[in-house]
């Protein structure tokens, strides 16, 4: 299995690599139950957490993951949108690099920004969400949640509901789950679910009809609705609710044991009925815990250990437990 040096997206991960990450997250799920949630595994390592787009949950999840592994974090919150001009990304990143972190977690409003950074720095880069391109740790924690609840990851009917066009969460999930034979239905208002999406991966179909999309679903992923958007007229909330809110009644069209996932933050009463959000099928809280586990596993493997191309030392400590 090719060892990972960055985590930029799920599109280029193999099944083997994905399975490895999910398996390696399991001990960290256990760990969240320990009375003392502090390891020294990454003690002395520093993780730069560079968020160029505002986010509370993902940022806290990554910083907590790093802290629980014993690493220190360097927090950078520079809001930058394509409209506002600021310091160039390259300068910001070089400034961070000069402080010698051992890895960088980056969230940015421009698709491709983590790749841009990875090409210029010598340290591992973890993508915490870039533009409308990918949000790989979200897809990994969603996969872990599905695998745990359903007992496996293979061949499910997955419905993703909402603004697919602008969703990096949708893309990362599509790339990941289709590698495991998922049949994915993308559903939302027509202008946000262009048919070309069907070409992105095998096993995809698009529909604007929520009832059709939910029928027979094993997993329903509800995306959040961005209530304001540059360059585009917004859809009125009532319109969205009418056509696309996941209500309890609509959820009954899915399989009785279907899971409901949401990347958060939820707007109760908009994309999701509060009854469903709090219901037995909802996995939102597990998603959060799993997010921590997945991010710890990724930091453990990417930031810990010698660099990918470091030579193995001559002395083999093979009587250390294997």
């Amino acid at each position: 299995m090719q060892r990972l040096s960055h985590l930029l997206g799920t599109e280029n991960l193999t099944r083997e690599q994905i399975t490895f990450i999910l398996d390696q997250s399991k001990p960290f799920q256990e760990f969240q139950r320990y009375p003392l949630k502090k390891l020294a595994t990454l003690r002395g390592k520093t993780v730069a957490v560079a968020f160029f787009e505002s986010s509370t949950r993902t940022r806290i999840s990554f910083t907590t993951a790093a802290a629980r592994l014993g690493a220190d974090t360097m927090a950078l919150q520079a809001e930058s949108s394509s409209v506002k001009k600021g310091e160039s990304l390259i300068d910001t990143v070089r400034t961070i690099e000069a402080m010698r972190p051992d890895g960088i977690v980056i969230r940015h409003a421009s698709s491709g920004a983590p790749e841009f950074v990875a090409e210029r720095l010598e340290i591992p880069v973890l993508n915490a969400g870039d533009g409308t391109h990918e949000h790989p740790t979200q897809a990994l924690l969603d996969a872990l949640t599905i695998r745990d609840r359903k007992g496996g990851l293979e061949g499910w009917n997955i419905t993703i509901l909402g603004d697919i066009l602008h969703s990096r969460v949708a893309r990362s999930n599509i790339h990941l789950l289709t590698k495991f034979g998922a049949r994915i239905t993308l559903c939302g208002p027509a202008m946000w679910v262009p048919r070309e999406l069907e070409n992105m991966a095998p096993g995809l179909r698009c529909t604007t009809c929520i009832e059709e999309a939910l029928e027979g679903a094993d997993v329903v992923m509800v995306l959040r609705v961005q209530t304001e958007r540059i360059h585009e007229p917004a859809l009125a909330a009532e319109e969205y609710i009418l056509g696309y809110q996941l209500t309890a009644k609509r959820l009954r069209l899915a399989r009785p044991d279907a899971l409901v996932l949401h990347p958060g933050p939820m707007i109760r009463g908009l994309e999701i009925d509060p009854v469903v959000a709090d219901g037995a099928q909802s996995c939102v809280l597990e998603q959060v815990t799993n997010g921590l586990a997945v991010r710890m596993a990724l930091l453990y493997h990417l930031i810990g250990g010698a660099p990918v191309d470091a030579p193995h030392p001559a002395k083999d400590r093979s009587n250390a437990s294997d």
């Binding site: 490895f20 399991k26 009375p35 595994t41 250990g305 083999d316 009587n319 250390a320």
Partner: protein, 182 residues
């Protein structure tokens, strides 16, 4: 660099007898095995711990609980040896507080593994006592760690390696001393 077998330290028969003896010793020195629990350190320590627990059950009918410890997250040598070891997870289904723990590993060498094992256990709770049981003690301690229950003491040099081969994992049952030659 080749690996060359120098001599056999324990045959299958000797391994078995040693483990039986260790099992008895543990029970003998544990005042009734009341709060006793055996913790095997991954990976070979787990196989050995499992055998000790069975042996104890066989001759004393005491059902001593067993746990599995993955010390990967507690090692001190990680950033020098290449990619992170894959985690296999700790599985200890009982609370560790006030337990009389016997940690089991195949070979005691520098003592760093046991240091890591103790750290791992302290993160789970506060055991009453931790003692160490090893099949082979090969010396060269780098930390103040001692084993209470030792199968055999062996003198080794720095380039030599003690290989414990167990049926369940290696398809054969013996302990050998190997050396690295250029």
């Amino acid at each position: 660099m080749r690996v060359v077998e120098k001599r056999q330290l324990l045959s299958a028969e000797e391994i078995n007898r040693t483990l039986q003896r260790l099992a008895h010793e543990i029970i003998e020195k544990s005042e009734g095995a009341k709060d006793l629990a055996i913790i095997g350190v991954r990976r070979r320590g787990v196989t050995l711990a499992d055998r000790l627990v069975r042996s104890i059950r066989a001759f004393s009918r005491a059902d001593v609980p067993m746990g599995i410890l993955d010390i990967s997250l507690y090692r001190d040598d990680l950033s020098t040896i290449g990619p992170q070891p894959s985690l296999q997870g700790t599985e200890i289904a009982f609370p560790v507080d006030n337990r009389d723990l016997v940690v089991v590993d195949d070979v005691l060498y520098t003592g760093r593994t046991i240091r890591a094992a103790m750290n791992a256990l302290f993160d789970l709770g506060r055991p009453k006592r931790i003692r160490l049981c090893v099949l082979i003690d090969r010396g060269h301690r780098e930390l103040p760690v001692e084993a209470t229950f030792v199968g055999r003491d062996v003198q080794t040099s720095d380039t030599e390696i003690v290989e414990v081969r167990l049926q369940e994992m290696d398809g054969e049952e013996r302990v050998v001393l190997v050396d690295r030659v250029p």
